[in-house]
Symmetry: C2
């Protein structure tokens, strides 16, 4: 037996690393790292939904939105929970909960549900779609049985 | 020249039709149609984020949440705008704005940003991830130039 990961596991690990880099770039307020992470606009442009925001399409507009958010966030820290990475061909879908501590608004903290889609280009996973949404009621009931 | 669509166009059209069926099933409050539309749980389970809700994983829990929502929604109508369909291999990503008229809460109307991910199984596009998020401030500024 070898300790070398299977190709599928290696793909997943690389996609998970790209996902971690996304949050690390945001925490560091490093727009260059964020720029490197996002895919180019292909046949379909990249898109981004910040919590509570409308959909933003296109690499330039998305990166401008990150510049605005970073300029207005003195401090932010993420603890990711329930992270799931699924790789299908050249696409990786990461879903997770973002548990956030931030100074954007004093005392602000909360949970965001996130879907991040990466596409592989030139062997590297690049962010294609980010969708974050505010969890307004964390205890929404999903009954164990159909009503 | 033939009027027959190119394979890529046919793929896109089929994914767009699956997306339309998702909203039609919700409008009709037809849980059977919704059930048919959602993929089975594969290596990675299906997932769903309703606007303001936490992430729900797994076909059974997702369909229960739809049963609850349908039971509590007397009337809902969607007008989709800015619909984009991107097909990469066996994955289709649809992003759109949901413009909603509903009786869930009297006088309720609003906009939801949606990301819907379909995977092709046995030649049919099936819903794998739905993520809808409330647009709380439709006029968030994205400046034309970096600040």
């Amino acid at each position: 037996m070898s300790a070398r990961p299977e190709p599928a596991e290696a793909d997943q690990a690389a996609a998970a690393a790209a996902n971690a880099e996304f949050y690390a770039a945001f925490e560091a307020a490093d727009l260059d790292r964020m720029d490197t992470l996002w895919d180019v606009d292909g046949l379909e442009p990249v898109s981004c939904v910040h919590p509570g925001w409308p959909l933003i399409r296109g690499r330039q507009r998305v990166l401008r939105s990150w510049a605005v958010i970073m300029a207005n966030t003195a401090y932010i820290q993420f603890v990711l929970t329930d992270v799931t990475v699924a790789v299908l061909g050249e696409v990786a879908v990461v879903t997770c909960d973002e548990n956030i501590l931030t100074s954007a608004e004093p005392g602000d903290a909360g949970q965001v549900a996130a879907t991040n889609i990466f596409r592989r280009r030139d062997g590297r996973w690049r962010l294609w779609v980010h969708h974050g949404s505010p969890v307004l009621a964390a205890d929404r009931p999903v009954p164990e049985e159909l009503p």
